[in-house]
Symmetry: C2
Subunit: 150 residues, 2 copies
């Protein structure tokens, strides 16, 4: 729970980023998740909705709700996927393409700013730790007693 625990650092920091992103998105009457979704859609050809979830780290079920609201806001249209009758092709409207540019700037600016203000070696350490956390979680190495913690 202290500042120096890895879980707290991830939690507090992600929440701060999310809050900031939501504020920036809010200036355009949008949300963070909508912004991420806009960025995941191919602005030229559209994207099958199955492609979006993995790309942005969102479950299909969460995505479904976001897409619904995006459709209602006129950001996207759904077209039947010619290659799969079950699937849908998500396409950006002109309005959606505009908003996509804004989201892109917001995300780029954040990442560029941080990258310019940390040492390359620190960034490597950051991604190393991130990598280990994800590896240990996805391979369920933590709560199964096959890794010593003492």
């Amino acid at each position: 729970m202290k500042d120096t625990t890895i879980d707290y650092a991830l939690r507090a920091t992600w929440q701060a980023v999310a809050k900031m992103y939501n504020e920036e998105a809010g200036k355009q009457d949008s949300t963070m998740a909508t912004g991420f979704t806009l960025l995941s859609i191919d602005p030229e050809k559209g994207s099958p909705s199955t492609a979006l979830g993995p790309k942005m780290g969102m479950e299909g079920t969460s995505l479904s709700r976001t897409l619904k609201s995006m459709e209602e806001k006129g950001l996207i249209t759904r077209k039947p996927n010619p290659n799969d009758g079950r699937g849908v092709l998500i396409c950006l409207t002109e309005f959606g393409k505009e908003k996509r540019e804004y989201s892109k700037e917001v995300v780029l600016k954040f990442n560029d700013t941080i990258r310019k203000n940390v040492k390359e070696s620190d960034l490597e350490g950051f991604f190393k730790v991130i990598g280990v956390v994800n590896e240990f979680i996805s391979e369920k190495k933590i709560y199964t007693d096959n890794v010593s913690t003492n």
Copy 2:
């Protein structure tokens, strides 16, 4: 949106940790937020609810809901704060104290496991980057054009 962006790394990684924590908490019919709250409460003297939010990085308004459900589950009791008629003292029941131990193990095991499997220098880099992100956000240095991004 790529694996190598800082925002995506934070988002995906925190969500993975949160999911794992919720699974572990679920084994005890609990949730992650409940576990964090249990850990934030002084098991001996109880804690004024104002102390909990800052300690665990939760807004008072979110906390209020969690505390309500924790009270319903018999994990905590509220006592009037003798020093402040507006405030409440959150105290653990015996049941709450038991569950607190479990939460403690879950959190410790995660942090210990990761620490034992990353290099000290990488961990330092990790916390450096975390520090810069939080600093830039809290001081609003990112979207105000007082920091060069080019």
